[in-house]
Subunit: 195 residues, 2 copies
Amino acid sequence: MKRIHNKEDIVQVGLDIVLSRGFNATGVEAILKQANIPKGSFYNFFSSKEEFALAIIDKFVADRVETLYPIFSDESLLPLERVKRSFEALIADFEGNDCSKGCLLGNLGQEMSDHFENVRQRLEQALQSWTIGLSGLLLQAQSEHTISADMDAEMLAENLIASFQGALLRSKVKKSSEPLRNFIHFYFDRFLARK
Amino acid sequence: MKRIHNKEDIVQVGLDIVLSRGFNATGVEAILKQANIPKGSFYNFFSSKEEFALAIIDKFVADRVETLYPIFSDESLLPLERVKRSFEALIADFEGNDCSKGCLLGNLGQEMSDHFENVRQRLEQALQSWTIGLSGLLLQAQSEHTISADMDAEMLAENLIASFQGALLRSKVKKSSEPLRNFIHFYFDRFLARK
């Protein structure tokens, strides 16, 4: 069994388990057992399970940035194409997990927003950062006339991300990525396409 | 404290708690305590917590039908207007809960789809029924030329519901119904509007 040496390793193991089982269904004991670490270690690193949730959100966001940044900044592609490819990359990840798990931001948003204010705020920050990154590309697409300029780019970015999350959730229940593929089709071939 | 007499009452109390706290965070004991019923009663009615989940889904769907059916069948309104009003009614419900709780189908879909196959199937059925109801209205809207006829009505219905669920989740994290209002704006004023 792999030996865990530091906080980063506990966060990685915890992220995997929470993505798979959810936050409330995951006991600290299960994380410790899977990570093969002594009981006391968890509370050496985290003052509470809520603080642990914040750490796995930060890790998830860092991983997500690593996936999306190269796509967002690929100047060989038109800005709108980068937006589309960024979602396609996340869909490929989801398909690689047999249409399970989904997005930690959505999962914890669903489970924890009403009861853990610090977690809600951290999720809100992460979603806003994603929205701002995406709206920069949409503004460029507007200035290049690939999408209509009379939409608020930030509102549209938020809507795109929300609709992606909804399609991800629908795909998780359907155990098929068809709703995600339809999200790509409707938004990029129809809703945003210049007539 | 209100006295619980039958299975329906337990389901109602359980639905309220699970909508508020989630499934995994809700212990059977908490339901029994809030419902003021003796411990043994729960397992007289439900062989497992999973069977209880199925019962609260059925109750939620019945309540949802009661909200949506009069709107779906209101022939004084154009079909597309009925679609829009049906979502607006659900948004009003959510606002009435201070932007908390959300939709049980989405919440349990997120929490349970990967681990409780019977629950996943029940949720899938419920989402498909909703999709079929909505696609009937979209087909009418297409035959009346209020929306473009070259979209598959059932795919579009599924996409609308998924995007609504995503906007609901985003609103739950933001603690503001703005993303839901933007969903209405983008879909009904722009994406589906005939140019």
